[in-house]
């Protein structure tokens, strides 16, 4: 019986090379004034399959944002290896309002296309598609200052999707939002992900959010961050963010992750 299972693995899992491979990633910060070294991330290894949705959870200050910034090439690593098996650089959805205040919603979404020199008609069509996907169509000409925080993060997501890159990195994109808005956006993100099937690495400090969204949850230790656990999230898709809370497995997993986070993990 076990042999039979091993003989018929899902072909996708075996054939598809991972989109992201990180091996013993280490990052430290040096403060020359105090001559002190802070180890932020220590020997962190993980991989993400193509089209997989992975959440990284960890206590604040554990270096999870640093890991993401290294993946996005916004920061340099100290040692270890980061391999991205994609043609283009990852797109990023940032923590705070990263929407540019001098551009309208549509112009913000069009920015990556405009800078690439995409033909105007193509830009317009793509922007319209992205606005429709994120529910922003009627706000196309609004300025970011006229939008709520949740709406602004929608713009951020639409902009990251605009030039259709393979990997989407999300750095606590809903962290600053109230709980209800967050739930709505989580459901929206799931729908968008179903439609686009991007490879997603999503950083969050919310266990609840990680389990709601991810195929796999990576739990990090407090600083210096390293991998404590790699948990599969078994819920079938498409998911309903409210309904899945009736599932006992959701709470079992919540308990499991919390007990990992609460125990003194890495050293």
């Amino acid at each position: 019986m076990t042999a039979a299972l091993q003989e018929t693995p899902k072909p996708k899992v075996v054939c598809a090379p991972p989109a992201i491979e990180v091996t013993t990633l280490t990052k430290a910060f040096y403060n020359s004034d105090a001559d002190s070294v802070t180890l932020a991330v220590s020997d962190f290894s993980f991989s993400v399959a193509r089209g997989e949705f992975v959440c990284i959870v960890g206590p604040s200050g554990c270096g999870k944002t640093t890991v993401l910034r290294i993946l996005a090439d916004l920061e340099s690593k100290l040692s270890g290896e980061v391999k991205l098996h994609t043609d283009d650089a990852p797109a990023m959805v940032f923590q705070e309002a990263s929407v540019l205040p001098w551009l309208t919603v549509a112009q913000n979404v069009a920015l990556p296309l405009k800078l690439k020199g995409t033909p105007h008609a193509q830009q317009k069509a793509r922007v319209e598609e992205m606005l429709a996907l994120t529910g922003l169509t009627s706000f196309a000409n609004a300025r970011p200052s006229q939008l709520s925080g949740g709406m602004r993060q929608r713009v951020s997501v639409a902009r990251a999707l605009a030039d259709d890159r393979d990997i989407l990195l999300m750095d606590e994109p809903f962290g600053a939002l109230d709980e209800q808005t967050r739930l709505v956006l989580q459901q929206e993100l799931l729908r968008i992900w179903e439609a686009t099937r991007k490879t997603v690495v999503f950083i969050t400090h919310s266990v609840d959010e990680a389990l709601t969204l991810a195929d796999r949850v990576l739990v990090m230790s407090p600083r210096p961050g390293t991998l404590v656990a790699d948990l599969k999230v078994p819920f079938e898709r498409p998911r309903d963010v409210v309904e899945m809370r009736r599932d006992k497995r959701f709470w079992d997993l919540t308990y499991e992750v919390w007990s990992l986070l609460a125990s003194p993990g890495g050293t």
Binding site: A72, L74, P112
Partner: protein, 271 residues
């Protein structure tokens, strides 16, 4: 708002709106306070409470101004001053903005060139007028250069500040969407600094008129500054006052123009 809520009573409505009403009244009244000062001046001058030789009545000044407008004499001076300010302003503002953006974006350039600007900035612009005259002669070029120097530093420091104050996340966004160095300069740093650039443009407009007035006192045969100086030398006090009012008004209008441009180009800074 909701259908079940009761409408506000007349008295409640009155109380609700009264602060706004008072505000409107004050705003209107505030227009008249400068006029009140002018009226006070007129009366004191007419009644000889102040020396009429030094402070001719506003009505007398207005009369002088009118005759000068009719004879078109005033417009030659205004034209000469405007040309000098306009050209000098552009000569200073454009490199000031460009260098401000460049140093704002590049730490290396900031370290290399920053100290040079910091050392030159405190030199009083009028103090180097003789040097400028020596190099560029007594013609208009020396005025352009003097104004350009004054404008340059204000634009440079305001633009630099604007880029430095821009949230780091904008630069991260630029990098993540694949902006080139020039695209970051043009599409991120410039708009991010634009509110500060406009603050600089207004300050620079004010100081341009200070500089041109002083420069025209000493080394010009035309312009409103020259006109004020020449009027003083011939003790034509009314004409001198006309000159002062005209150059103040020119500065005021310039700043209004820049503010209109700002509303048009920086609509997001309203909030």
């Amino acid at each position: 708002m909701s259908t079940t809520s009761r409408p506000l009573t007349h008295e409640e409505m009155h109380r609700l709106k009264s602060p706004a009403r008072r505000e409107r009244l004050f705003r209107r009244a505030s227009l008249f306070s400068p006029l009140l000062l002018l009226l006070l001046w007129e009366i004191s001058s007419q009644l000889n409470l102040i020396d009429r030789r030094f402070f001719p009545a506003p009505s007398a000044i207005a009369q002088t101004a009118w005759s000068m407008i009719v004879s078109l004499e005033l417009f030659d001076h205004i034209g000469a001053t405007l040309r000098r300010v306009g050209i000098g302003y552009a000569m200073g503002a454009i490199p000031g903005i460009i260098l401000g953006l460049m140093l704002g974006l590049s730490q290396t350039m900031r370290r290399l060139l920053g100290p040079i600007f910091a050392a030159l900035y405190p030199v009083p612009k009028i103090a180097i007028l003789p040097l400028i005259l020596l190099i560029f002669g007594v013609g208009d070029m020396s005025k352009y250069v003097l104004i350009a120097i004054g404008v340059f530093f204000l634009m440079f420091y305001n633009t630099l500040g604007g880029v430095m104050q821009a949230p780091q996340i904008y630069m991260d966004v630029a990098k993540n969407v694949g902006a080139t160095r020039f695209q970051t300069f043009r599409h991120i740093a410039l708009p991010a600094a634009l509110p500060n650039i406009f603050t600089g443009l207004k300050l620079a407009a004010g100081s341009s008129y200070i500089i041109i007035a002083a420069a025209e006192f000493l080394g010009a045969r035309s312009g409103v500054g020259f006109f004020i100086w020449a009027s003083w030398q011939t003790f034509a006090v009314s004409r001198m006052f006309v000159g002062i009012v005209v150059i103040s008004f020119m500065g005021y209008l310039t700043i209004l123009l820049i503010e209109a441009l700002e509303r048009h180009l920086v609509p997001w800074a309203k909030q």
